[in-house]
Symmetry: none
Subunit: 226 residues, 2 copies
DNA sequence: GTCTCTGTGAACTGCTTGTGAAACCAAGTG
DNA sequence: CACTTGGTTTCACAAGCAGTTCACAGAGAC
């Protein structure tokens, strides 16, 4: 995803933190010129302009963005309650606004709605580990760019393992956590599913899942710290 | 100025007072039927739907408003912070939202911006995905240039799927989002409608809707980056 | 009244999944 | 080194389940 343009520079800590947590990449710029310099190849995916500290600079940047022809970036304005009346004459400079100080969840919801409105989808929820990518929304998986055709249980098992990289799970644990019922007697079940997973991962990536003899299985490398 | 439609009925005192102070005329309605009865000659100028007390009723009213052809009213949703995540799949039901409890000035600013925006016709009227085109104004659909003769439910289902490409939906989710009621027992209903859709899409494009075994259905291909 | 749309039950089909058995392997042990 | 033992991988197969398809009936529109 292309980054968001943030004003001012440096970005307010609360804003930076909220964006990082939500998984939006961003770059801060303090002026239209700086924004031009920092602009990525494919343009910005949008902009969040903080008007609460430097209102004049903020509106100047909005104007600069709006002057460009295409592609059009959605602009989200951050403003204090006292600035609300100032917005009246500047409706054309932004697409949505959020009162500062803001709640991270509200910011996230506004970004999502803004992107939806302007025709860009929301970000998919991804689980990534090395070459492996799981898209939780579309139930699809890929390793090294190659899509994997996994069955339901295979996907669930891989998802569980990949969300706990490095950790070793016994067969009993896997049965109860992934399958969801108590352990009866089918420990072979886990083995076979692991085998099918390794087969589909391909020779090259089969070692993503390692066997810990007498214990169980581990996804990815072991963790010595953390 | 035409009045605003308010939900629920009676209107929350804070909302009524804020609108009166700001000079917006309004009428409250507790259901889609009541809204129809109260509707003025020239239609509503917009709607403010409070989802903080009766979420189901609120979304039902939104859906009813969105189903009407023209003229199109901008919808402002009032929601609590806890409801923010629920909005994700309902982006199409509103044009802006305001957290409750709200500050009158923020409400006023959002209304002003909303009217400004919609006065310029920034509403999406076409949904496109690959060979598929849905015209939301005329309720027509076409795939690969060939017009599709869809029934009402088929169109609604396809519209919902096509506005969330790549994402997998369970039958329960589809029932509640497209049909609008809670899941009773008719999961087959979804299957059959999917089947009819695929039949009408034609052999060539039937694969636009894919089955995700043990999960549900997905429209279009996954989104890996964007 | 006639027609289309819509929802539901039921048969059918194919794939997923679990399981036992056999082959295989690594590491002790005499 | 040969043998044993405990664990893991691999294979083949059968049962069950999820999805598809069909047929039909009620509801609602015209």
């Amino acid at each position: 995803m292309e980054p968001l343009l943030i004003f001012p520079d440096p970005a307010p800590p609360a804003l930076a933190q909220a964006l990082d947590l939500a998984g939006y990449p961003w770059k801060a710029a303090g002026s239209p010129e700086a924004a031009d310099r920092l602009e990525p190849e494919d343009g910005w995916s949008g902009a969040i302009i903080g008007a609460d500290t430097d209102a004049e600079g903020a509106f100047a940047l909005c104007r600069a963005l709006r002057k460009r022809d295409l592609p059009f970036e959605p602009v989200l304005l951050l403003a204090t309650g006292a600035q609300l009346t100032e917005l009246e004459l500047r409706e054309d400079l932004f697409d949505d606004f959020c009162l500062a100080p803001f709640h991270p969840r509200e910011l996230e919801a506004r970004l999502a709605h803004l992107f939806w409105r302007t025709g860009r989808g929301t970000r998919p929820e991804l689980v990534e580990y090395g070459p492996l990518v799981l898209n939780l929304e579309t139930y699809q998986a890929a390793v090294g760019g190659r899509p994997l055709d996994l069955t339901y249980m295979e996907y669930e098992l891989l998802k569980f393992l990949a969300t706990h990289p490095g950790k070793v799970f016994t067969r009993e644990t896997l049965l109860s956590r992934v399958w969801g019922y108590e352990y009866y007697g089918g420990a072979r079940t886990v083995d076979v599913h692991i085998r099918r997973l390794r087969a589909k991962l391909g020779e090259e990536h089969a070692n993503l899942i390692s066997t810990v003899r007498s214990v169980g299985y581990r996804f990815g490398q072991s963790r010595w710290g953390v």
